[in-house]
Symmetry: C2
Amino acid sequence: MPQSPVIRAAYRARAAAAEIAPLPRSVKDDVLLAIADALEVRTAEIVEANAEDVARAREAGTGATVIDRLTLTPERIRAIAGDVRDVAALPDPVGEIVRGSTLPNGIDLRQVRVPLGVVGIIYEARPNVTVDAAALCLKAGNAVLLRGSSSASASNLALVTVLRDAVGGAGLPADSVQLVPGEGREPVRELMRARGMVDVLIPRGGASLIRTVVEEATVPVIETGTGNCHVYVDAETDLAMAVEILINSKAQRPSVCNAAETLLVHQDVAEAFLPLALRALAEAGVTVHGDERVRELAERVDSGATVVEATAEDWETEYLSHDIAAAVVDSLDAAVAHIRLWSSGHTEAIVTTSQAAARRFTQLVDSTTVAVNASTRFTDGGQFGFGAEIGISTQKLHARGPMGLPELTSTKYVVTGDGHVRGGPRPSR
Amino acid sequence: MPQSPVIRAAYRARAAAAEIAPLPRSVKDDVLLAIADALEVRTAEIVEANAEDVARAREAGTGATVIDRLTLTPERIRAIAGDVRDVAALPDPVGEIVRGSTLPNGIDLRQVRVPLGVVGIIYEARPNVTVDAAALCLKAGNAVLLRGSSSASASNLALVTVLRDAVGGAGLPADSVQLVPGEGREPVRELMRARGMVDVLIPRGGASLIRTVVEEATVPVIETGTGNCHVYVDAETDLAMAVEILINSKAQRPSVCNAAETLLVHQDVAEAFLPLALRALAEAGVTVHGDERVRELAERVDSGATVVEATAEDWETEYLSHDIAAAVVDSLDAAVAHIRLWSSGHTEAIVTTSQAAARRFTQLVDSTTVAVNASTRFTDGGQFGFGAEIGISTQKLHARGPMGLPELTSTKYVVTGDGHVRGGPRPSR
């Protein structure tokens, strides 16, 4: 028998997954409602554990923003419980017939959604991910192995304790929800190499975490990558709309993956658009990293914008701050070429009044999302109507873009005959 | 600029993929028809190159079966060309709207199928895979990088030359189809680590190849794994049907992945069923590796069957030969437990007259395919009506079971608004 705590946890998760996979939605929803209630009832216990983490973070000199992300208040716990109840209200993807037909020989073929099995989530920062991810995984019939940030270890332990008690109290195996045990990097490495026991890994966090997991894991990974998103303003455009979409994409919430990081402007509209854009960006407190043509125009305009020189690094940088790279391009195709070269493949927006331009941009751009006359900020499971989101995948296999409950499932085929055999006569029954 | 031939080939493939991704079906079909014609016109050239490979194999003392798989005759080339024309006749998955809706705020959301991009195929043996894989990839708008067996190197080079000439002659980039250059293992290793340039790897071959690729690749892999398939004969069953399905699953074509490798028999029907099964297996020339209860019964019956003792190794072995492991189980749930422990997750069949048993088995078994009263041999893209098959995936992400054209695609979202921004008023337009 394997001795490692991580492998033993994976075995327990596998056993739990086998038990919960066939459960109907009503049973799973009852568990989620029990979880929501338990979170509210045991708020004091969670807040107390969280206070330990916050105190440790303060002693370590952690910045105020990070401490705020780490902090769980009774209000926040109530909101988290509300989110769990929302997941209970969502349709169950498990059991959906994706496709079906009767084959020429009379066999009935069905492709049906099934749980993935054991989902591993490796995440940084906010402890509410512990609950959100567990709720989504359970709803889709999966067991979950959670590896959070060490800075939130007491909070995550308290939350998982509450989750496990609620799950077990509702009659399901408590091991449907587990923390990955052990300190340091070795447990994470074992988790990443546990192919066959863990069905998928979803890393959520910074580029460094994602890269490590993608490179080292033998377990299939869903890459939730960076968002080096672009806004392209076409020659034929509505100037006012372009400014609104630019500012919303960049500055409404700069620290998230669907915030725009680069502005591309068709040369034919640069003279008319850039002055408006620079002024608006200045008002929004955004520093512009401009190419030669942008800088040249900025010098002739009194916009109040801070404009610095863009280097190659700027084109590939996800600033996540009040900064934007900006360039004038010769054509729509040149914009597409720039995007192909530099984009992380998350979201690219075009603002245009030309139907042909919208169509061409949409055809040629290969990212998770192409936005036409809309902000890049809409790339979001909630905005897409999914009801919940486990992350935004920037890879092409299995899931691409915002991921909801169906992305936490696999499928299987069910073939039903009357004694059908290959190469034989069709049964007369 | 990177110097490696493999990386340069990947860059060329990427550029070709960008060019062919937006092409409509009619253009792609014309290319496929040109390929089919070219294969027929240049048959002599292909046969001549193939003769080199066959001669080398003979000198190396290669067995007759393998040499036969390696051999390309004019008839076989004609059949391959016919398969390419069949692919041209299939629907194009690219451009399919997977789902779409109008969001509450008026934004139109569409999820549309797009090519994966650059597909890498690493394969052993049969040179027709060179053409089949290229045709399927092209149809789905992908560029393909092919790495075949060194034993078929001259054949594959000749085939790819014909393919590239046909593709280029039809006005598409010849680099849509390339062989991975270079000798030995290093080019394959580079291909496997070319994440970001190659979008997916599909290894087709023996367990050792699959394992190497799965463990070493950073490029996403679709695992086409082994088929340790099971036939379970339930307490309530049609004995004659069970014998037919058993023999067809095991012996109709033992060397393929969807052939059955283990028979499980409910104890309540063992006395009635096993004598019939053993006689039929004996007639089919199949050696039975039986557990204690199977062997005990076999001794009391004059079946003519060769029955040897099964060890733990037998339960996990994919024989691909005239061998089958056999055990008597206490119950349906015991059969499911055995399958969970030993199966490679390919195909499991139940033969039963009980609707409840069929339902329970179908719910509890987690493999690519569950067959009810049908042979395991139906797990096949052609049989499922896909028109073509790139392989059978035994993994859970992206594709599971027989893979057709849609599995060679990804998706992207298209979000269309009228100037919509997050947190802002809905545009009045």
